[in-house]
C-alpha cells in the first residue's frame, strides 16, 4: 500500500468515478444490460438444447411410436413407462396405449431420442419451464407430448415475431431429424 492508497480519500474518488461511469453508460445505452426481461423476453436456446420431450405423428395423425421398448430400456433414470397395444389394422405393428415420462425423474440425457428407431420422440422443443402443482401432473402422457408444440406456438409467434429464424425448429414442425 503506497501513501496515496493509505490516505484512502483518493481511492474513494477513483471508485466513485468508476461507478458513475457505469451509471452514465447504462442510462445512455440500456442495451448494455445482459438482463433478459423474463417472461416478456426469453433467451434464444441453442439448436441442440434438450427441452421437454414431444412425440411425433405420421401424416394421418397417429403417433410414430411402435412401442419397441428401446427408450425405456436405454433410459438411465427409468422414467419412461410404455404400455403397448396391437394395431387392429396391421397386427404386425404395435402402438403405445400409454406413453408416460415422469419429468421429475428424467435427467434430460437424450438417450431415448438416440435410441428411437422411428424418430418418434424428440427433445427439440426447447421448453425449459417444466412445472406443475402436483407430482401427478409432472408425468407427461401421450396426448400432452403429441400436442406440446401447439401450446408453444402462440408464445413463439410473440417472442420471435421479428426474427423467425431464431424460433425453435420444432415450431415449424419440420420432420427432418435433428443432427
Amino acid at each position: 500500500m503506497n501513501s496515496s492508497e493509505a490516505i484512502y480519500l483518493w481511492e474513494v474518488v477513483k471508485g466513485l468515478a468508476l461507478t458513475m461511469s457505469h451509471v452514465i453508460k447504462n442510462i445512455f445505452q440500456p442495451e448494455r444490460f445482459r438482463t433478459i426481461e423474463y417472461p416478456d423476453m426469453r433467451k434464444p436456446m441453442a439448436a441442440r438444447y434438450r427441452g421437454a420431450h414431444r412425440l411425433l405423428t405420421r401424416p394421418d395423425g397417429a403417433v410414430k411410436c411402435v412401442a419397441c421398448m428401446c427408450c425405456p430400456t436405454v433410459c438411465p433414470a427409468k422414467c419412461i413407462t410404455i404400455i403397448a397395444g396391437e394395431n387392429p389394422d396391421d397386427p404386425a405393428e404395435k402402438f403405445p396405449i400409454e406413453f408416460d415420462i415422469d419429468m421429475l425423474r428424467c435427467i434430460y440425457c437424450g438417450f431415448c431420442v438416440e435410441a428411437c428407431p422411428k424418430d418418434a420422440i424428440r427433445m427439440d422443443t426447447r421448453i425449459y419451464e417444466i412445472n406443475a402443482f402436483t407430482r401427478q401432473d409432472m408425468v407427461h402422457n401421450k396426448p400432452y407430448m403429441v400436442n406440446l408444440m401447439d401450446g408453444l406456438k402462440p408464445r413463439a409467434e410473440t417472442v420471435y415475431r421479428d426474427d423467425p429464424k431464431a424460433a425453435p425448429s420444432g415450431y415449424t414442425f419440420d420432420e427432418k431429424p435433428v443432427v
Partner: protein
C-alpha cells in the same frame, strides 16, 4: 382573522417542511434501487405498472407502501413494549424536527422562509442529531435480543464519536460567518469577496471550508448510519441490527427515518458549505430575482423547453426497444412511450406558456388585487417574492438531491468499514484533522480581522 395569519403562516411552513422531506423519501428509495441497479449493470425495478405506466420503477415504491401497510405488525413477547413502541417514533420525529431550522428561501412578503427562526440554528441541528441516537439505541435495547442490542450499541458509540468531528468542522463555519443562524450563514455565502451570488463565495471554496466540508460530510455518513458506516445494520453479522424485531409500518418508520436523515444531512451540508438557496450565478441574488422577476420567469420557461422536447423525443424513440417488440401487440404497456411523449410535450407547451407570461410581464404584477379581479384595492404584490421563493426553493432542492444522490452513490461504491477501523478513523484521523482545521481557520479569522479589514 388578522391576528391569526402569523399562526397560519407557521402552520403552512410546518406542513411544507414535513411534505418536503416526506415527498423526497419515496424518490430516494427509487433512486437507491435504480441507482444501485445501474451501478451494477442491471436494469433495476421495472415490473409494477399502473394502467401500463411503469415510470421506470417509480410504481414499485408505491407498491412498497401498500405492502408495508398490509403486513402483520408483530409485537414480540420478549420486548419492553413501551420503549419498543416509541423508538421508531423518536427516530422519525427527530429527523423531521431537524429540518425546521434550515432556510429554503430568504423571505416571502416579510416572512422568513424557514419553519422556525431560531437564531442558534446550527446548535439546534447538532442537538437534534445527537437525539437521533435515542431512537436507534432504544430500539436495540428494547428489542431484547443480542443482535439488536449490538446494533444499538454500535450506533450509539459511532454517533457519539463522529459527533465530535462534525461539531468541530461546523465550528469552522461559526468562525467564518460569525453567526450560528443558518439564515445568516447562507446570507454571508451570497455576499462576499466576489459579486453577490457567485459560486466562489460558498464556504466550500475556501481551504479550511473545504477540509471542514470533507470532515462534516464523512461524519454525516456516520450520523445517518449509511454505508460505509452502516455497522448498526450490518446484515452480515447482526441479521438487521437494531430493527430486526420490527415489522410492518414500524419498520417503515425506521426505513423512512434513514432517508429523512439523509435529506436533513444533505440540507444542512448544503446550507453550511454550498450556499443554501444561493443560485451560484454572479449578481443573481434575491434582490436581482425580485427586480427582474419577469425576465427570470421568461428565461426559465423558454429555457426548459429544449430539454423537455429532448425528453419527449427520447420517450418516443423508446417504443422501438426490443422489449416492446417482444411483448404481445395488445399488451397494456405499449401505451407507456406514448404517455411519456405526451407528458414531456405537454410540459414543454406549459413552459412556453410560462415564458410568454414572463414576456408579458405578468409575474411582476401578480397580486391579490389581480387574483380577486379588483375586489381588493391596493392589495399586496406578491409576484416578485413568489418568483424569488420558487427559484430559491428549486436551487435548494437540486442541491439537496445531489447530496442525497451522493449518499446513494457512495453506498454502492465503498465497502463497509470494520468496527475498529471506524473508531480509528473517527478518533485518530478525523478528530485531530478537525482540530487542526479549526486552528487554521481561527488564525485566518484573526489575520483577516486584524490586517485586512
Amino acid at each position: 382573522m388578522e391576528e391569526a395569519i402569523p399562526y397560519l403562516i407557521v402552520l403552512a411552513k410546518c406542513v411544507f417542511a414535513v411534505a418536503f422531506v416526506m415527498q423526497i423519501v419515496p424518490l430516494l428509495i427509487w433512486a437507491e434501487r435504480k441507482g444501485s441497479a445501474y451501478i451494477q449493470d442491471r436494469p433495476g425495478p421495472n415490473r409494477a405498472d399502473i394502467l401500463g405506466i411503469r415510470a421506470g420503477g417509480l410504481v414499485h415504491t408505491l407498491v412498497d407502501v401498500v405492502k408495508l401497510i398490509m403486513k402483520e405488525d408483530i409485537l414480540p413477547d420478549h420486548v419492553n413494549w413501551f420503549y419498543w413502541f416509541i423508538a421508531p417514533v423518536i427516530a422519525m420525529t427527530v429527523s423531521l424536527c431537524t429540518f425546521i431550522v434550515v432556510p429554503f428561501g430568504d423571505t416571502f412578503l416579510g416572512y422568513d422562509l424557514r419553519v422556525s427562526a431560531i437564531d442558534g440554528g446550527l446548535l439546534y441541528v447538532l442537538a437534534m442529531t445527537s437525539l437521533g441516537v435515542y431512537g436507534i439505541m432504544l430500539a436495540g435495547w428494547a428489542s431484547n435480543n443480542k443482535f439488536s442490542l449490538l446494533g444499538g450499541l454500535r450506533a450509539s458509540a459511532q454517533m457519539v464519536s463522529y459527533e465530535l468531528a462534525m461539531g468541530l468542522s461546523a465550528a469552522v463555519i461559526f468562525l467564518l460567518s460569525g453567526s450560528v443562524s443558518l439564515q445568516e450563514i447562507v446570507g454571508q455565502q451570497i455576499t462576499g469577496f466576489f459579486p453577490n451570488g457567485t459560486l466562489l463565495n460558498w464556504n466550500v471554496f475556501s481551504p479550511w471550508g473545504f477540509v471542514a466540508f470533507i470532515l462534516f460530510w464523512t461524519a454525516a455518513f456516520a450520523e445517518t448510519n449509511r454505508t460505509p458506516f452502516d455497522l448498526p445494520e450490518g446484515e452480515a453479522e447482526l441479521v438487521a441490527g437494531y430493527h430486526t424485531e420490527y415489522s410492518s409500518l414500524r419498520f417503515a418508520l425506521f426505513f423512512m427515518a434513514e432517508y429523512a436523515n439523509m435529506i436533513v444531512a444533505a440540507s444542512v451540508t448544503t446550507t453550511l458549505f454550498f450556499g443554501g438557496y444561493s443560485t451560484g450565478l454572479p449578481f443573481v441574488d434575491g434582490t436581482f430575482l425580485r427586480a427582474h422577476a419577469d425576465l427570470v420567469v421568461a428565461a426559465a420557461g423558454f429555457g426548459a423547453v429544449p430539454p423537455l422536447l429532448f425528453f419527449a423525443s427520447v420517450a418516443w424513440k423508446r417504443r422501438n426497444r426490443p422489449f416492446y417488440k417482444a411483448i404481445p401487440a395488445d399488451d397494456i404497456r405499449h401505451r407507456e412511450p406514448k404517455f411519456f411523449t405526451g407528458l414531456w410535450a405537454g410540459l414543454a407547451v406549459a413552459h412556453v406558456g410560462l415564458g410568454l407570461a414572463g414576456l408579458l410581464g405578468l409575474p411582476g404584477k401578480l397580486s391579490l388585487n389581480l387574483l380577486s379581479m379588483g375586489a381588493i384595492e391596493d392589495a399586496t404584490v406578491f409576484g416578485p417574492d413568489l418568483v424569488a421563493a420558487v427559484v430559491h426553493l428549486t436551487v435548494f432542492s437540486v442541491k439537496v438531491l445531489i447530496g442525497c444522490w451522493f449518499f446513494i452513490w457512495v453506498r454502492w461504491t465503498i465497502v463497509r468499514f470494520r468496527y475498529d477501523q471506524l473508531m480509528a478513523l473517527g478518533w485518530k484521523r478525523m478528530l485531530p484533522m478537525a482540530l487542526a482545521n479549526l486552528f487554521v481557520a481561527a488564525l485566518w479569522v484573526i489575520v483577516k480581522e486584524t490586517f485586512l479589514v
